[in-house]
């Protein structure tokens, strides 16, 4: 058991180190600039709208950056290593294949977590800056000032960050799964993006086909049920939108989504390990 953990830790640490030394974090600079630009963009709107725009922008930027890093990172994990042939010297060690997969995924997840954490702190910083700006401009009425502060320092934003992290962790797991099946990095990215889109669309499709009152064919129902089973429902993460809208979201709902995501990640990694076990290198 300890041996397993040590080996997984070695793979994870190496994956993380590679990303750091390849200056992946430089992308955060772009992110920071986007945020700062956005912070000054909507100043003619009400302060609630300004905060909403800023939070949406911040979380969308985190999402997009995380998606990019997660996708590119995952394609490097296995197809990239096979192309560069660095995988041979790792897999010939007394290292089980599933340990390699889990370690690679863990390294990528830790990288994503660190990046998301840094970006979330940046968002909080910009919100604080906005708070100061708005209080200087409109905060003479203490009631208004209190509302502005409440928008900027909403503790539910932590839940939003947790949901974002977990969503990106699922995307990374999907990419890892495809990277054990495919040989081409382009294929991995394309398939992962497709599943991502389907994951968002499936609830819309389900509503359209199953509940709009139209008569859906047996085949359509079966197909949609299959999709619902295989593809995670990314609309669950719209709790983030609820938080940004200022509506109450319980920790319980958040943790349920975290649990759901955990199950998907476990299934995906298991499937990836099974596929990789039988793969000739």
């Amino acid at each position: 058991m300890m041996g397993s953990l040590r080996r997984i830790g070695a793979v994870a640490g190496n994956t993380f180190l590679e990303a750091v030394r390849q200056k992946v974090f430089a992308v955060l600079l772009v992110f920071g600039l986007v945020l700062i630009y956005g912070a000054n963009y909507f100043t003619e709107f009400s302060f609630q709208e300004q905060f909403k725009f800023l939070k949406d922008l911040g979380y969308a930027a985190i999402s997009l950056t995380g998606l990019l890093v997660g996708l590119l990172g995952a394609t490097q994990l296995i197809p990239g290593e096979i192309e560069r042939r660095t995988i041979l010297t790792a897999l010939c060690r007394p290292l089980r294949r599933w340990e390699f997969i889990v370690g690679k995924y863990l390294g990528l997840s830790i990288l994503l977590s660190v990046m998301i954490g840094v970006m979330a702190v940046a968002v909080a910083g910009v919100l604080g800056w906005k708070e100061a700006q708005l209080i200087a401009r409109e905060g003479s009425d203490p009631a208004v000032a209190a509302l502005i502060r409440a928008e900027a320092r909403d503790p539910r934003l932590i839940q939003a960050v947790v949901l974002l992290e977990v969503k990106l962790a699922v995307v990374a797991a999907i990419a890892v799964f495809f990277s054990t099946v495919a040989t081409s990095t382009t294929f991995v990215m394309a398939m992962t993006l497709m599943v991502y889109l389907i994951g968002h669309l499936q609830s819309v499709a389900r509503e359209q086909w199953l509940e709009s009152g139209e008569v859906a064919s047996w085949a359509a129902k079966f197909f949609l049920a299959g999709v619902a089973f295989l593809v995670p429902d990314f609309n669950l993460y719209n709790l983030i939108d609820e938080i940004v809208a200022g509506n109450a979201v319980s920790w319980r709902s958040t943790l349920e989504v975290v649990g759901y995501s955990g199950v998907y990640i476990a299934v995906l990694l298991t499937a990836a390990s099974v596929v990789f076990e039988g793969r000739d290198i």
Partner: protein
């Protein structure tokens, strides 16, 4: 092969045995199946039929892989690591850690002459020979019984090749078994005890080098100081006794030896 590509028979009917403590050479031109054989022993490829065992364990199992240290052909290492970090990574993958691992890293780097500052530089600054030596250190970190080297001197200059060959001989001295493949035949000749010759996936020959290469019907004597007129007499003496002179003349030195002799002392290393 991939999903939609045709299948290729890379190896057929290979029957091979390597004894403990010997240096075993896998010979053959490109595409003969040397790398395939090595990968099957390592469990990176699975044979469609047949069986391989390593020190009594089925090939590809964790126990079998513990016995082997592998250096692939033209290896690409994670070039963001330094030499020492590479060996540390492979050590951890082999289940080692702590001070034991650190000590082993220093020993190995000294052995392959990458100790000190050289070991701290990133791998992307290494020459080909240095990369091979770093890879060798990585392969040996778990103190395996068997070293498998796929084309270890490919792309390395003669001085570097000689170093690698010296290392192989040293490993044999220490009781290790070395299996290596090469298509540079003179280099194999220097170190191997036994060889197998493959061609298009099939075994052509196998045996001890001495047995395979010795022209048993011939005898070679190198002399110095034999005058021109005495040469004739010697030839005559031999022919009288029914001995056929197959070849005569001044022996040629190997180009590699000549090359190395020509370099200044410090460049030979």
């Amino acid at each position: 092969m991939g999903w939609f590509r045709g299948r290729v028979l890379a190896l057929e009917g290979l029957d091979m045995e390597v004894h403990r403590g010997e240096v075993f050479g896998l010979l053959g031109p490109n595409g003969s199946g040397k790398s395939t054989a090595m990968k099957m022993i390592l469990g990176l490829l699975r044979p469609t039929r047949g069986r391989a065992e390593v020190c009594g364990y089925r090939a590809g199992t964790i126990a079998a892989r513990r016995q082997i240290g592998f250096l692939p052909e033209n290896p690409y290492f994670p070039n963001f690591l330094s030499g020492a970090e590479l060996v540390r990574y492979y050590g951890r993958l082999s289940g080692m850690g702590g001070r034991v691992l650190e000590k082993r890293i220093q020993e190995l780097l000294e052995m392959v002459r990458l100790g000190g500052e050289a070991g701290k530089r990133p791998l992307r600054t290494y020459s080909k020979g240095m990369l091979q030596r770093a890879g060798l250190a990585g392969a040996m970190v778990g103190d395996p019984e068997i070293l498998m080297l796929d084309e270890p001197t490919a792309g390395v200059d003669p001085a570097g090749s000689r170093e690698i060959r010296d290392l192989i001989l040293e490993l044999r001295q220490r009781g290790k078994t070395v299996i290596f493949s090469s298509h540079l035949l003179e280099q194999v000749e220097d170190v191997a005890d036994r060889v197998i010759i493959l061609h298009r996936g099939q075994k052509l020959r196998e045996g001890r080098l001495d047995d395979l290469l010795t022209r048993k019907k011939e005898w070679e004597v190198n002399v110095q100081g034999l005058k021109e007129e005495d040469r004739k007499e010697l030839r005559g003496w031999l022919e009288k006794r029914g001995v056929q002179v197959v070849r005569e003349g001044a022996p040629r030195e190997r180009l590699e030896d000549y090359f190395l002799r020509s370099l200044p002392e410090e460049k030979r290393r």
